[in-house]
């Protein structure tokens, strides 16, 4: 029993060490690649903001918000139809959607780049966020269909008898009842788009549009000198929103969220 706890603690410590370095480097004005010991200074955070962390975070927020709104709304409507309507070849359609969810984005990048060159859509945050939305849609549809399937139909049938349209049923009954699922889909899309690197790197070369992930990468490779302290601070600023979001998500959805199960006592 003791050895089990000890072993688990050792693995946990190994996993913790890189995180400790990150926090240590962010707070220490003389940070290096190695652990330097505690110091309490916010100068690295000021340096990160001076290096453009603020603007990059705003760009990440734009990409994540637009793609989340687009992906979640189109996926909810499609998932409702797939759950409630009679759609021809539904089983095959769902299989295709699942297949698309597993398709590497890498394959799509060059063709999308070419299409965007022809349409003149390069260097536009809006069109870049549409690609991010599209990459999340297949998984979101799959997830939302499963959630909507679990919403009891009695209320809808009653509403239909009263003459409510499908749109009103969706808006007034299904969306409120499937809200936990819609939030999970939104948060997963948001986290995915927030961290996006390759797609904005290729589709938007405009320096003032670069999101946090690209900003950190540029900062890492700038002038051959690696500023570990400011970079660590930048990484923490950039990571905080998604970590917070995950915490809220897993706490709030407690039982319904399968991921929370792993840490629940």
């Amino acid at each position: 029993m003791i050895s089990v706890n000890l072993l688990l603690a050792i693995i946990g410590a190994a996993f913790l060490l890189p995180l400790i370095w990150l926090v240590d480097a962010a707070l220490n004005p003389h940070a290096s690649a190695a652990l330097t010991g505690p110091a309490w200074s916010l100068s690295n955070f000021r340096a990160a903001l001076a290096a453009g962390a603020g603007g990059a975070i705003k760009n990440s927020l734009y990409l994540a918000m637009v793609s989340t709104i687009v992906a979640t709304s189109v996926s909810t409507i499609a998932a409702f139809a797939l759950s409630r309507h009679r759609v021809p070849f539904k089983a095959s359609l769902l299989l295709v959607i699942l297949f698309l969810a597993g398709l590497p984005v890498t394959l799509l990048l060059i063709p999308i780049f070419e299409i965007y060159v022809h349409l003149g859509w390069l260097n536009s945050p809006f069109y870049t966020s549409l690609v991010l939305a599209a990459t999340s849609v297949p998984f979101a549809i799959w997830l939302l269909k499963n959630f909507i399937d679990q919403v009891p139909r009695e209320l809808e049938e009653a509403a239909a008898i009263e003459g409510a349209s499908d749109l009103r049923i969706l808006w007034g009954i299904v969306i409120p009842l499937a809200m936990p699922g819609i939030l999970v889909a939104s948060i997963l899309t948001f986290i995915n788009s927030w961290g996006a690197f390759l797609i904005p790197l290729v589709l938007d070369a405009n320096p003032k549009d670069q999101p946090g992930a690209v900003g950190i990468f540029q900062f890492m490779s700038a002038n051959g000198v690696v500023h570990f302290g400011p970079l660590a601070a930048y990484s923490i600023i950039f990571s905080a929103p998604v970590v917070l979001m995950y915490l809220i998500c897993s706490r709030w959805l407690n039982g319904g969220f399968a991921f929370a199960g792993g840490v629940k006592g």
């Binding site: 995180l19 652990l35 009679r86 597993g102 060059i110 070419e114 599209a134 290729v202 399968a258 840490v263």
Partner: protein, 310 residues
């Protein structure tokens, strides 16, 4: 729901009758599916088909072939077969996916799930949160952390008491594999600990009464029962790892030399640094083939379970 799913099953005097509780197809359903459909068609299906075309052309990012490309048949694939960097890239992709993804993440995740089952609850919750935090962090943050860790003078080189060694230069593939395992283990831990909870306690207790040791029970009882969960977990890790770009690009940019240029990285280098969009796309297609081959292995393994489910 005990609804009959096939409307034709209901008959009246041998004449099929429509059931009131089963919806008939309405054209308006197409309208509901169209926003998602258009988005997925335009930015998923169309690019996939386009990729199948670009891979057979000499399309360039810049220069004369950017506008006036021509169909070059199999020449990209012929070049690929004779490209030693491509083959080493395939090998590294397999090492990366199998080593850092399938083996390291599954074994570590399973170990954490098993230990968590028997450890103190507070310790399990703490370690679980740490492991999950590594997974929730954006990939670029993970890349930066391990970039610093693997450097000369970084924490890792100090730990092995060789502070002067730049591990990113001497064993680059190992370091990116460790970084990827660190980042991805939480996923396996979560899936496999959920799977462990579904193993009926009676079976394990019965084996215990028969005098089976812990390892015997693990190997002969628990793992066989969890087989499909483990397989699905491996499949998902494979899909997630095989197209990984950010982690390696930010840590090593595929270097030194091409020592960490797995297929997505090599594709990016060919397409956007050497301007060869045609060859880059051919590499992306090869990546799909590798992914499909690995997936087929899992699906074949899962076939008995899939049959049972039907």
């Amino acid at each position: 729901m005990t609804a009959v799913h096939d409307a034709s099953e209901l008959q009246f005097d041998g004449i099929p009758v429509d059931r009131a509780d089963i919806k008939k197809f309405k054209w308006s359903s197409i309208l509901w599916l169209s926003p998602a459909g258009i988005l997925v068609m335009a930015l998923f299906v169309l690019p996939t088909i386009y990729a199948l075309y670009i891979g057979f052309t000499n399309m360039q990012l810049l220069g004369p072939f950017a506008q006036h490309l021509s169909f070059t048949g199999l020449s990209n694939f012929d070049r690929m077969i004779h490209d030693p960097v491509f083959w080493s890239s395939v090998k590294m992709t397999l090492v990366f996916v199998i080593g850092s993804g399938i083996i390291a993440q599954t074994v570590l995740g399973f170990a954490l799930a098993l230990l968590g089952q028997r450890a103190k609850i507070s310790l399990r919750a703490t370690v679980g949160s740490i492991v999950i935090l590594a997974w929730v962090l954006p990939e670029i943050t993970v890349a930066f952390i391990w970039y610093a860790f693997g450097q000369a003078g970084g924490t890792l080189s100090e730990l092995i008491a060789r502070p002067g060694d730049d591990l990113l230069a001497t064993v680059p593939l190992l370091i990116v594999c460790v970084a990827n395992a660190w980042r991805g283990t939480a996923f396996s831990m979560l899936i496999l600990s959920a799977g462990l909870r579904n193993v009926p306690a009676e079976v394990d207790e019965a084996a215990q009464l028969e005098g089976a040791s812990y390892w015997q029970r693990l190997w002969r009882v628990t793992i066989p029962i969890m087989r499909s969960t483990i397989m699905v977990n491996m499949l998902l890790i494979t899909i997630g790892t095989i197209s990984d770009f950010t982690l390696i690009w930010a840590m090593t940019q595929g270097g030194p030399g091409n020592e960490t240029a797995i297929l997505p990285v090599y594709m990016y280098i060919q397409a956007f640094q050497f301007n060869d969009l045609g060859y880059g796309t051919a590499i992306a297609l090869a990546l799909i083939v590798v992914g499909a081959l690995l997936s087929i292995i899992y699906v074949r393994q899962l076939r008995p379970e899939l049959k049972k489910a039907q």
